[in-house]
Each structure stands twice: as structure tokens, then as C-alpha cells.
């Protein structure tokens, strides 16, 4: 099932000519309307007319998250502000958020892309979809909402939280589809079990659209088992659009990237060079159809590889693997972006610690737990417990103020954590080890 068969099954050759036209248009508009891009291209001695083939994209400079921060709030907007009809912001808790701007046409395209996502999961008019993504600045809530509404399904805008009521609505309304983060899907399933309700048996749930967080295969299986639905992985990011950039079809073998709207590259994060299909590297995206905020070669920091073959579903768009890692070690913990460097900064502000630490992320009964192990400096150690407990509390408060989430702090003996010679393994993520 396709929402836009012509686009989604476009022959490769035609797709590439559409992409080239749109790329040229995008570069031209970015150059003309965004000082940041004009400067960046001028510095490289590139003019929009130099883009004559798709491979010429490699001449363009990369855009990074830092560029979004440096140009905050309006520096990347390519239209007069009176054409902007919506503004979203990323979920980051520190410093400046990443803001994203949309014209009415951008919202229409976004809704169409989400309608494609949901149609790929066989959602249609007559379905009732419960949207438990958070509504608000986060792109998940309204993004999924608009797509489902375009499809013609009835949307229950339940937003995130209050799991008992979510379950009540799923049962009483005969909800057939669910959209939320994978960890919240597990919480709903688990809460159902606690209430003595097996949603796999008692609900009409058939399909779920889960994104904004990594979801391993075992976790997918658990979601499918406890909710009795087919769990589809969806991908997106605020800088580029929001959800709808890539999604699985019913084959669940890779996420189709909406190539008519985004130019896809996978690069070696060290050298910046393009990698052939099948090789793991950093996903780089260029928007091809965005008005308010076109983005050239955005370095997502997500590690993926592209499938070299085509999908039996008939979509011609290239597929990528699930996100297998991050180039910057960014962690998503309970929906919040956490960088190890933030943790390091916080630790440096506390006296009595060695500059060695380890971050352990675990998923305890479906909720992410962040634990930071730090070495106690011998100087602070005496014969009493109180100073160590005070130290622990100080570290915890410092981390909480920086990250915005509660963390567990564990004091360990000096010399026990790995020393940072080159790339220290600062992060142990136990969530993807197949426990779920």
C-alpha cells in the first residue's frame, strides 16, 4: 500500500532527475537567502551553478548541529518570517535549543511524508490511531498527528503519559494503531499486564509507529508480543524535518528514506568522504523540498549503512539499517539527548574527583537509567563516610542541572576505570545487548 505511488515507486533514473532539479533549486535558494550558506559556499569558491550533477553535492560544505546553535534563532531561515506558520524546537535541555521553521507548504509536505509512513503500515480511513508522542515543541506529536489526519484515520491525541488512561482509551475506543516512542510502547504494555490486561489479546491494536529513540530487534519483539501489533521503526530529526524522513514498510527490513525529499549520503565520519552502499558510516542529509529552512549536507551523527538491494514492497527509495551508533556518543536517555562531554564538564566542576568516569545506561523495567561511575580522588578520602556522601550528592546535583534528568552516581576506587588513551570507552550502553 502506498500513499503516493508515483513518488514512492519512481524509477531510479527519474528519481535522480527530480533530485537534481530540487538540489539545484535548494542550493540556489539557500545561497540567495541565507547568509550562513552564502558565506560557506563563497569560502569554498562554489556558486550554485556549479551543481550540475548529484555527485556535485560533495563540493558543498557540511552543516553541523553547532551551526544551528551559532545561527540561533533565525540564522538558517530562508523565507520572510511572515511566511513561517510553525516553529518547533528540539528536546535538548541545555543551552540553546535547535529551532525548526515551517511554511504552510512545508507542513503539507511533512504531513504527506507521515501519511506515507502510516500507509506503509496499512493505516487507512476507518482506523483509530492513538498518538502518544508528546504534543508540543517536540516534532513527534504534531508530526504524527498531521500525517494520520491526512490519511483520514481518527486521531486520539492522547500525548505521552498517564498509561492507565491510555489503556482505557485503547480498549474502549477500539484503537487500531499506536504512535509513540518504543520505550513508551513498552510501558503501556507493561502497565496493561500489571492491571491484568493483556493488550495483545484484548485490544484491536494492529500496527505501531515507533521512533525518536533507538529500538533494537529484541525490543521490537517485546513490543510486538505485549501489544499484539506490528511494530514499525520510523526515523526523523528536528534539524531536517521531524518524523517522516525514513520508515519501515511491512517487510521490516530497513527504513526507506524519502529520497524525493532528501538527498542521502553515507560518509566516513573521519575523512568526510562518501562510502559505497553497504558500508557503515555517518548519515548525511540534504533537504530537497523545504522552503523555510533548507539544510545542506546535515551531519546527523547517526551511524547507518544503506542496503544495496531493492525492497520487495516496490518502493524504489533506498533503505538504511536501524541506527547502529552515533559518531559523537550521543545517548538518548528517557527521550533526552545526553552527550558524554556534558557529563565530563559537570564532573570537572566538582572537587575531589579523578578525571576518569564511565557512563552506564541500562533499561530497568523499560525506563532508561543513567549511571555515572566516577573515581574518588585519594585526597578526599579519609576515614569517614559523610564527605563521600556529600561528594556523591554534589555530583548528582551538578549532573541533574546540566542534563535535566536524574542520574545515579557511583563512587569507585581510583585506578579502576579505563584510562583515556585515544578512544576510551566512556559509555556502556546495556540497553541494546539483547535483554529486550
Amino acid at each position: 500500500m502506498y500513499w503516493n505511488k508515483e513518488a514512492e515507486t519512481m524509477p531510479r533514473e527519474k528519481l535522480e532527475s527530480v533530485q537534481l532539479l530540487r538540489l539545484q533549486e535548494t542550493v540556489k535558494r539557500a545561497y540567495q537567502n541565507v547568509a550562513f550558506y552564502r558565506d560557506a559556499l563563497d569560502r569554498r569558491g562554489i556558486k550554485p551553478d556549479d551543481i550540475r550533477s548529484l555527485s556535485d553535492v560533495s563540493q558543498l560544505p557540511f552543516t553541523t548541529k553547532q551551526d544551528f546553535r551559532d545561527t540561533y534563532p533565525f540564522g538558517l531561515v530562508a523565507v520572510p518570517m511572515n511566511r513561517v506558520v510553525r516553529i518547533h524546537a528540539s528536546s535538548g535541555t541545555t543551552g540553546k535549543p535547535v529551532t525548526a521553521y515551517y511554511t504552510q507548504k512545508d507542513l503539507d509536505v511533512w504531513a504527506e511524508l507521515m501519511a506515507r509512513v502510516m500507509t506503509a503500515g496499512e493505516l487507512r480511513k476507518g482506523d483509530i490511531i492513538q498518538n502518544a508522542y508528546g504534543y508540543g515543541l517536540f516534532t513527534g506529536g504534531l508530526g504524527a498527528h498531521d500525517g494520520a489526519q491526512l490519511v483520514g484515520a481518527a486521531v486520539v491525541p492522547s500525548s505521552v503519559g498517564n498509561s492507565r488512561r491510555q489503556i482505557l482509551l485503547i480498549q474502549d475506543l477500539g484503537v487500531t494503531a499506536l504512535a509513540c516512542t518504543p520505550s513508551y510502547a513498552l510501558i503501556i504494555g507493561e502497565t496493561g499486564r500489571e492491571l491484568g490486561t493483556d493488550l495483545a489479546k484484548t485490544s484491536k491494536l494492529r500496527v505501531g509507529f515507533f521512533g525518536a529513540e533507538p529500538c533494537s530487534e529484541p525490543m521490537r519483539k517485546e513490543i510486538e508480543d505485549c501489544l499484539g501489533l506490528k511494530a514499525l521503526d520510523i526515523y526523523g530529526l528536528t534539524e531536517i524535518l521531524g518524523p517522516g524522513v525514513a520508515h519501515e514498510c511491512m517487510n521490516q527490513r530497513g527504513l526507506h528514506l524519502a529520497e524525493d525529499n532528501f538527498l542521502v549520503e553515507v560518509i566516513d565520519p573521519e575523512t568526510g568522504r562518501s562510502l559505497p552502499p553497504g558500508q557503515k558510516g555517518e548519515l548525511v542529509l540534504t533537504t530537497l523540498n523545504k522552503e523555510a529552512m533548507p539544510v545542506l549536507r546535515y551531519r546527523t551523527r547517526d551511524i547507518v549503512s544503506l542496503y544495496p538491494d531493492t525492497c520487495p514492497c516496490g518502493r524504489t527509495f533506498v533503505r538504511m539499517t536501524k541506527i547502529t551508533g552515533r559518531t559523537d556518543d550521543m545517548l538518548i536517555v528517557r527521550g533526552v539527548n545526553v552527550f558524554p562531554s556534558q557529563i565530563e564538564d559537570a564532573l570537572l566542576r566538582v572537587d575531589g574527583l579523578e578525571p576518569h568516569y564511565q557512563i552506564v545506561v541500562d533499561r530497568d523495567s523499560h525506563l532508561d537509567e543513567l549511571e555515572v561511575w566516577v573515581e574518588v580522588s585519594e585526597d578526599i578520602f579519609t576515614d569517614e563516610i559523610a564527605p563521600l556522601e556529600t561528594l556523591e550528592l554534589k555530583v548528582r546535583k551538578e549532573l541533574e542541572s546540566v542534563l535535566g534528568i536524574w542520574t545515579r552516581v557511583r563512587l569507585v576506587e581510583p585506578g579502576t576505570l579505563e584510562r583515556s588513551e585515544g578512544k576510551a570507552k566512556r559509555v556502556i550502553d546495556r540497553r541494546d545487548l539483547g535483554k529486550r
Binding site: 574518588v376 578520602f381 576515614d383 563516610i385 563521600l388 576506587e413 579502576t416
Partner: protein, 136 residues
């Protein structure tokens, strides 16, 4: 009641809470033929602190450092108390409370003379405590 009181050095060791860590530490002492004269283990959720009186504190700290332990020596008071009901009250607890001093911790030794008990007492102000105990 005044009690024989003296200042001694104790060795404290920071131990992570994990099975076997105490064994490793005790083995280090055993291997060097170091006997433990008094000992207590204080516990926090994630770690513990072992406090011990060893025949030679400096040697003890050195040996533990070599083996990779976080150890240091600190001063405490050693008090001989009569081994009878109320002995600790009369000789230690009451004098210190009268002097307005808090006891941080207290633990007992394993090797007292007959009819005697020996306790190790930690008070922040050792001078004041020593005075209070000497007066009784």
C-alpha cells in the same frame, strides 16, 4: 571516671561494593603477615570504608597502596574500658557528652587484657576528647 586513653593511628580503606573486594584486601594483609588488632566496616549504598588498627599503620598503608587500594591513616583515640555493664557509658560516652563532643564512630578491639575492653573512638576534636576522657 578517668580511663587510660592514648592516640593511635588507624588505617582506613575505601572499598567498592562488590563481592570479593574485601577478600582481596584481607589477602594483601595476610600475605605480608599483618595482623588486624581492631576492625570495623562502615557501609554506604555503593561503597564501604574499612577501618582497622594494625601493628604498624605506615607499613599497612604502604602495603595496601602497593596493591592498588585507596588507603590512608588517621588519628583516633584508643580507650581502655572496664568490661562490665555501664563501662562504656562511664568512661567514654558520658565524659564526651558532658564535654559537648560528638562521637563520629566507635568500634571495639579484639585483643583486650582480662577484665578490660578496648575501644577505638573517633571524635573530630581529638585534643578536647582526650582531655575530657582523661578527666573522666
Amino acid at each position: 571516671m578517668a580511663a587510660p586513653v592514648s592516640r593511635i593511628e588507624q588505617v582506613s580503606v575505601f572499598l567498592e561494593n562488590r563481592p570479593g573486594r574485601l577478600v582481596e584486601m584481607l589477602k594483601v594483609l595476610e600475605d605480608r603477615g599483618i595482623n588486624i588488632l581492631a576492625m570495623s566496616l562502615a557501609d554506604a549504598p555503593d561503597f564501604g570504608i574499612v577501618r582497622m588498627v594494625l601493628p604498624d599503620s605506615r607499613q599497612g598503608v604502604e602495603v595496601l597502596h602497593e596493591a592498588g587500594f585507596t588507603a590512608r591513616s588517621t588519628e583516633v583515640l584508643k580507650v581502655e574500658v572496664p568490661h562490665r555493664p555501664g563501662g562504656l557509658v562511664d568512661t567514654v560516652a558520658l565524659p564526651l557528652s558532658r564535654a559537648g563532643l560528638n562521637i563520629e564512630y566507635i568500634y571495639a578491639s579484639v585483643d583486650p587484657a582480662p577484665g578490660q575492653a578496648v575501644v577505638v573512638v573517633k571524635v573530630r576534636d581529638l585534643d578536647a576528647a582526650e582531655k575530657a576522657l582523661a578527666v573522666g
